[in-house]
Every structure is written in structure tokens, then in C-alpha cells.
């Protein structure tokens, strides 16, 4: 008896908790299932999304955190299907695990927008993602220009890898080498070392590389914290002035700040698909046709535009 009342009570509580604030005033409800919020990039992802949603007063955005567990994320998506959201956005933790539930939503007639990592089907309404090979190429192009231009580029570079077991790291390296390897004057000094994306390992690899190599002209790191720690190592060795540092991600309060301070030379945006996802969903609600796939462009952030980017993000 007591247990049943408790169940009822908790059900009632859950129901009230699920009622969105100002529900009556909102016209659309978007449900977004995020894989995890324990990564800097994912935090920025959610921020971008909320910022875009706030621009549209008739939109209610509900974000669920998958806590980096496939089963939790599947349950989140199932909840959204039961609630009957108008648009379902999913950024899957992993492709295979989320495919069945995405298909279930599509079957239920909900438009599904997949963000960042794809599922194993093409029945979704739209896929939005970045392209790490493209970003690698942008960094490679920038490197070649910094070191003297196509055909004349010359210098020793250190590439600081992210995770050797991580696909984005391989894509970032591949795109970079497509351009850099064409230059006979550019020499890559290090074999790939797995930093597991940990910045402190970037520091130590750089510290040793500085001892082993008297001439280093440029450091290309697979993300900004790695580049920043390579800068710190060079600074401790008194050689930071002779070296250019390039990073990737351009998260405002990390990479962009360091570029603005002149510690990094440039960083390349790995845009989150958050804002674009919200915009595309609204287009769909307004009856417009949206493309099946969108690849987000990158952007080079260096001394020329860092301050402006910081201002746009309310940090300067």
C-alpha cells in the first residue's frame, strides 16, 4: 500500500518535472539527445544550441544527457518519442547502438536530425557534421603558407597527435599531410605518439623534442590544449619565440583566448552542429525543404579575428 502511494507520488512528481516551463506559450518542441556532457567540445555544443534556441521565443528545447552510455541515450530518445516532440535531434555516442531507436522515431513520423556522428541508415531527415579531413587540410594549407608558400616552404615541424585510437585524430593528420607532404622542404620530426588527448603528455613530448631537435619551426597539435602545453614547454625552454603553434577546435574560452594572447598562432574551428541543427529544424517546421546532408565549414582563427570571435561569444 505504502509502496504504491510512493510510486504514485513519484510518478506525479516526474510528470510535473516533465512539463516544460511556459509550455502553453511555445509553438514547437525540439528534443535533443546529447551523448555526454563531460567533454569540452560537447559543453560548447550544448551552449551553441541553447544560444540559438533562445533567439526563437516560440521554441522549446529539451536537452537530455546520455551520460556516455548507449542504453541511457536510447532511453532518452524513447522518452522523446513518447512525448511526441516536433523535431528529434540526436548526437549519438555510437552509430550501431543508436540506429534502431532512430529508425523507431522515423517510423513514428518524427523528423530526425543526426548531429556529428552518423547512424547506420540514411532514412533520417538530415545529417549535420564537421569534416576533420577538411580541417586538417586548412591547417596544412596555413602551415605551408607560414613556412614560405607552396613549392618554397621549408622547416621542421612537430605533430602532436590526439588519440591514436580516435578517428578524428587520424582525419586531422590525413588532411594535414595531404598538403604538407607535397613540400619537399618540410620535415616532420616525430613518429606518432599517443597522447590520449591529454595536454600534460603534449608538454612532455614537446620538452623532449626540444632537447632532441635544435630547429623546430612549427607545432601542429590535434587540439588546442595540446598546442598550448607545447607552447608552455617551449616557453620553459626559452624557445617559444622561434616556433609557431597551431591548434584545432577553437573553443572560445580555450583556443581563441590563447590565439588572442599571441600564445598560439592560429586555431581551426571544429564547429559544433548545435546551432545549425536548431536552425534546420525550424526551417523544417516552417515547411521548407532541407538538404539530406550538411557538412559544416571550418574557419581559421588567428591574430586578425580572435578578438572579434571572443566578442561574439561574450568573452572580450
Amino acid at each position: 500500500m505504502e509502496r504504491r502511494t510512493l510510486l504514485k507520488l513519484s510518478a506525479a512528481l516526474a510528470a510535473t518535472a516533465n512539463i516544460p516551463r511556459g509550455f502553453a506559450a511555445k509553438k514547437y518542441r525540439f528534443g535533443f539527445s546529447q551523448a555526454t556532457i563531460l567533454e569540452t567540445w560537447r559543453v560548447q555544443f550544448n551552449k551553441d544550441m541553447r544560444k540559438e534556441a533562445e533567439k526563437h521565443p516560440d521554441l522549446e528545447l529539451i536537452i537530455a544527457d546520455g551520460q556516455n552510455k548507449t542504453e541511457k541515450q536510447v532511453a532518452d530518445v524513447e522518452n522523446f518519442i513518447t512525448q511526441g516532440v516536433d523535431v528529434l535531434l540526436i548526437s549519438p555516442k555510437e552509430s550501431a547502438g543508436l540506429t534502431p531507436v532512430a529508425l523507431k522515431a522515423i517510423k513514428a513520423g518524427i523528423p530526425v536530425i543526426i548531429l556529428d556522428r552518423n547512424v547506420d541508415t540514411d532514412k533520417y531527415t538530415q545529417f549535420i557534421g564537421g569534416d576533420n579531413v577538411l580541417i586538417g587540410r586548412a591547417a596544412g594549407d596555413y602551415t605551408v603558407k607560414l613556412l614560405g608558400g607552396p613549392g618554397k616552404a621549408k622547416g621542421n615541424i612537430v605533430e602532436l597527435w590526439g588519440g591514436l585510437a580516435s578517428a578524428p585524430a587520424h582525419d586531422r593528420s590525413k588532411g594535414f599531410h595531404e598538403l604538407v607532404d607535397k613540400e619537399p622542404g618540410i620535415k616532420s620530426l616525430l613518429a606518432p605518439i599517443d597522447t590520449e588527448w591529454k595536454a600534460n603528455k603534449g608538454y612532455e613530448i614537446m620538452a623532449t623534442a626540444l632537447k632532441a631537435n635544435e630547429n623546430i619551426d612549427l607545432v601542429y597539435a590535434h587540439n588546442d590544449p595540446l598546442a598550448y602545453n607545447a607552447y608552455l614547454a617551449a616557453k620553459d625552454g626559452g624557445r617559444e619565440k622561434a616556433i609557431k603553434f597551431l591548434g584545432i577546435d577553437a573553443i572560445p574560452n580555450e583556443g581563441v583566448v590563447w590565439v588572442q594572447k599571441g600564445q598560439l598562432t592560429a586555431t581551426f574551428l571544429y564547429a559544433t552542429p548545435g546551432a545549425e541543427g536548431v536552425r534546420q529544424g525550424l526551417k523544417l517546421m516552417n515547411g521548407e525543404k532541407i538538404p539530406h546532408q550538411i557538412t559544416l565549414p571550418t574557419m581559421t582563427i588567428d591574430a586578425s579575428n580572435a578578438t572579434q570571435v571572443l566578442k561574439e561569444n561574450g568573452l572580450a
Binding site: 616525430l190 620538452a207 632532441a212 590544449p225
Partner: protein
């Protein structure tokens, strides 16, 4: 010539040769720990690239001080781990304590006011100082001659004085820290507050293990998870992934902790060496050290012979927590960031270094110099592989092989190896049969009867 002499050995000479060989073998066995390191250093020097001025890069002072700095975090943790393992336990929570310390440290250095870091560390620091001062002052009369006839009233007065003094010190420290709050903590404040927090969490491990009689593995596994959670909560939702960057937000004296003195001596390395020295001497020369060995050797016997086992164990885990949190402070200063994932995996590195250094995982056997060597082997190995530009997959293979090799060397298998080497050495000068007779004799006398078959020359 040596070869003819060997053939003409008389029986007596054979005896002295045998004794001589035995002594050499004994020496090799006793110092086996250091041979691994010496071998590794030789490999490092031989394979190192040379810079344009002809200097061997591996041997250059800059590189050697880099290695000392790189190992110092792992080293501090390993010193604490040695204590814990010697007492027959294990501490898996050191990585999380390091992470919590790095987060607290970064926040105290960069943020002003009553942040969550200040809310946690100031009361804990006051509590720790109160307990420590009261305990030390109470212990002072006991240090002198044990006079049986002490009047109880004098004891009571002394106890009161001890508590009062403890409260006074705690109060002063708390006031000192609260007055720092409108601004940021400097190095001194952090070096008091953060280790105090580490000490308390380490002591918590010890209390759970000794008083509740729980398995050290389970207790520290639980606190490893729990303290990581606390570290994340302290940094707050967003900051638990965005590291707290120290950078130019902090007070200038932070650079003191990452300085390189006289261009060769890194301050973090100094912390590590000091910790190893203090704990090593404590193990060798104090009753506390004897107790740690006794408890690790046979806890039941130690208890029955009147050792305050619980108190020693709590102290051991508290020291481990203290050293891990000091490593967290050094991490924050060195990499200029505080992060909840700062120490992930360091417990395994530390345990590996301790075991390579010859300390038995069963407890009771081992010493601090071994840990020092184990930590250095790890550091030099990484440095040599990196200087030779070996990619990280191959680095993993070689590291695994070296750990296995070192443990084989430690676990007495080296004894057989030394005997075989000895027999090889003595055989080389002489081609005659008498020399080989000497060695097989020597081998037989030095090996236990049951194992003779296993060491047949091949």
C-alpha cells in the same frame, strides 16, 4: 697466462676460486636492483642522438633534469605507495586525490572569494592542524624518560595545554586563510591547505581499512570513484571538463613550483627526492618504520606483540594521501591547469615502479631505494624511447617487456641468471675440463638440493 693457471689449479686454489665466485655472485645479487638502471643508462648513452656541438643529448644536463622533473609526480605517489604496500595494503585512490588536489589548487590560485575550493579546504586545514598540533604536543612528555610516577593532574594540565595550543594554531591559520580570500592564495597558502585535504582523505582510507576491517583494495577503489566525483562537483558542471587554467590569472609566485634552480635542479624533483629521503629514513631508522614492516610481514603477530596496528595503518594511508595531493599541486604548477582527470592511471604507474623496485606486493619486504630506482627506470625508459623517436605502439611493447624483465630480475630468477653468467665467465678462459668441473661444483654447492636439475648447463 690466465688459461694455463686455471688448468693448474690445486685443490686449495679451487676452494678460493669458489669462494671468490660466490662473493661476486653475492654482490651481483645484492646490487641487482641497480644493474638494471645502469644497463638502461648505458643503452641511453649509446643510442642517444648527438647535437651539432657534439654533445650527447641524453647526457646533457637539460635532458637529465627533464627526466627528474617528469618522474617527480609519479615518484611522489610511488613513495607513498611504497609505505602502503610495505604495510601489506594497496592504495588505488591516489589518482583521484591527485586530481582533487590539482582542482583545489588551481581554483585557490585563480579565483577569489568563498569558492567551493575554499569552503572545502579551509575548515579541513583547521581541523588537521588542530589534531596534529594537539597530538604532537601531547607526545612530547612521552618522548622523555618514561617515569611511572607522573601525577595525573600534571598530565591533565598538559593535555589541556595541548588542545588549547592546537585550537590556537588552527584558529590562526583559518584567520590567515580567510583574510587571503578576497584575493587569491599564494604558494604558501596552497602548500598548507591542499596537502591537508589529501591527508584527511588518506586518513579516511586508513580508518575504513583498519577500524572497519575492510579490504584495502575495495576501500580505496570506492574512494577512488568517490573522490573523483568530489573533484568534479568542486569544479562545477562546466568546469569539470574545462580545466581551470592557471596561466596569467594566478599570483606570480606559482612559478616558484616549476622553477629550474641553477639551470639543472627542477623544484618538483626536489620535492620528490626530499619525500623519498624522509620516508626512506623513517622506514629505516624509526620505530614507526619497524612497525610498518612488522605489520606487512604478519599483521596478527604485530597486533599480538602490542603494536598499535590501527594507528600505524591510518598514518600510512594518510601519508600516501598527503604525498598524492602534493603531487597534485606540482601537476597544477607544471601544466598550469587543474583537471578532474589529472591523475587517471597514476596508481598503476606507481605500483609498477614500486614492484620494479623490489618491494613485495605481499608486504613486509622492500625498501625506498628500490622505489627510487623503479621510478627512475620508468622515467629514463620513456625518455630514451622518445629521444630515439620510437612511435608509441612500439613504446608500449618495450615498456611491457622491461617491466617483465625487471620483475624477473627481482623475483630471484636473477639468481639463476647470475649463476649461469658466473659459470660462463669461469669457463671462457680455459678450454680444459678441469675448469668446467670447478663451475659445476660451484653451481652444485650454491644451489638448493631440489633445484639442481633445473640449472643443468645448456
Amino acid at each position: 697466462m690466465a688459461s694455463t693457471k686455471t688448468i693448474e689449479l690445486t685443490r686449495a686454489q679451487r676452494g678460493t676460486a669458489r669462494a671468490y665466485l660466490a662473493a661476486v655472485g653475492q654482490f651481483l645479487l645484492r646490487s641487482k636492483l641497480y644493474w638494471g638502471l645502469v644497463l638502461l643508462l648505458a643503452v641511453g648513452i649509446a643510442t642517444s642522438p648527438v647535437n651539432s656541438r657534439g654533445v650527447n643529448i641524453f647526457l646533457s644536463p637539460g635532458n637529465l633534469s627533464d627526466v627528474l622533473r617528469q618522474v617527480s609526480n609519479n615518484g611522489m605517489v610511488a613513495v607513498g605507495m611504497t609505505l602502503v604496500i610495505l604495510s601489506g595494503g594497496i592504495d588505488l585512490s591516489v589518482g583521484s586525490i591527485l586530481a582533487l588536489a590539482s582542482v583545489l589548487c588551481a581554483m585557490l590560485w585563480t579565483q577569489s572569494g568563498w569558492t567551493s575550493a575554499a569552503v572545502i579546504s579551509i575548515p579541513i586545514t583547521a581541523l588537521v592542524l588542530f589534531v596534529l598540533v594537539a597530538w604532537v604536543v601531547q607526545a612530547i612528555p612521552r618522548m622523555g624518560a618514561q617515569t611511572a610516577g607522573n601525577a595525573p593532574s600534571i598530565n591533565r594540565a598538559w593535555t589541556m595545554a595541548a588542545y588549547c595550543l592546537g585550537a590556537l594554531v588552527a584558529l590562526f591559520t583559518a584567520v590567515w586563510m580567510v583574510r587571503m580570500l578576497p584575493g587569491k592564495f599564494g604558494v604558501a597558502g596552497v602548500l598548507v591547505a591542499v596537502p591537508a585535504v589529501g591527508l584527511v582523505f588518506g586518513a579516511l582510507n586508513g580508518v575504513l581499512i583498519s577500524k572497519a576491517r575492510l579490504q584495502p583494495f575495495i576501500v580505496t577503489l570506492a574512494t577512488m570513484v568517490g573522490i573523483l566525483g568530489i573533484a568534479r562537483v568542486v569544479t562545477g558542471q562546466d568546469a569539470s571538463v574545462f580545466p581551470v587554467y592557471v596561466g596569467s590569472n594566478s599570483t606570480d609566485d606559482v612559478d616558484l613550483l616549476r622553477a629550474l634552480w641553477w639551470r639543472v635542479l627542477p623544484v618538483p624533483g626536489l620535492f620528490f627526492l626530499a619525500a623519498a629521503l624522509v620516508v626512506g629514513v623513517a622506514l629505516k631508522a624509526t620505530t614507526f618504520g619497524r612497525y610498518v614492516y612488522a605489520i606487512g610481514g604478519n599483521e596478527q603477530a604485530a597486533r599480538l606483540s602490542g603494536i598499535a596496528v590501527d594507528r600505524v595503518k591510518i598514518t600510512v594511508y594518510a601519508l600516501s594521501g598527503l604525498l598524492a595531493s602534493l603531487a597534485g599541486v606540482l601537476y597544477t604548477a607544471q601544466y598550469q591547469q587543474g583537471k578532474p582527470d589529472a591523475g587517471s592511471g597514476i596508481e598503476l604507474d606507481a605500483i609498477a615502479a614500486v614492484v620494479i623496485g623490489g618491494t613485495s606486493l605481499m608486504g613486509g619486504k622492500g625498501f625506498m631505494a628500490g622505489t627510487l630506482v623503479g621510478v627512475l627506470i620508468f622515467g629514463f625508459l620513456g625518455n630514451i624511447l622518445q629521444l630515439n623517436n620510437i612511435d608509441s605502439n612500439m613504446q608500449l611493447v618495450l615498456k611491457g617487456a622491461i617491466i617483465l624483465g625487471a620483475v624477473l630480475l627481482q623475483e630471484g630468477q636473477a639468481g639463476r641468471l647470475a649463476r649461469r653468467l658466473g659459470s660462463l665467465l669461469s669457463r671462457t678462459p680455459a678450454a680444459g675440463s678441469s675448469a668446467s668441473e670447478v663451475t659445476s661444483d660451484a653451481a652444485r654447492t650454491r644451489s638448493a638440493p631440489g633445484t639442481t636439475g633445473a640449472i643443468s648447463d645448456s
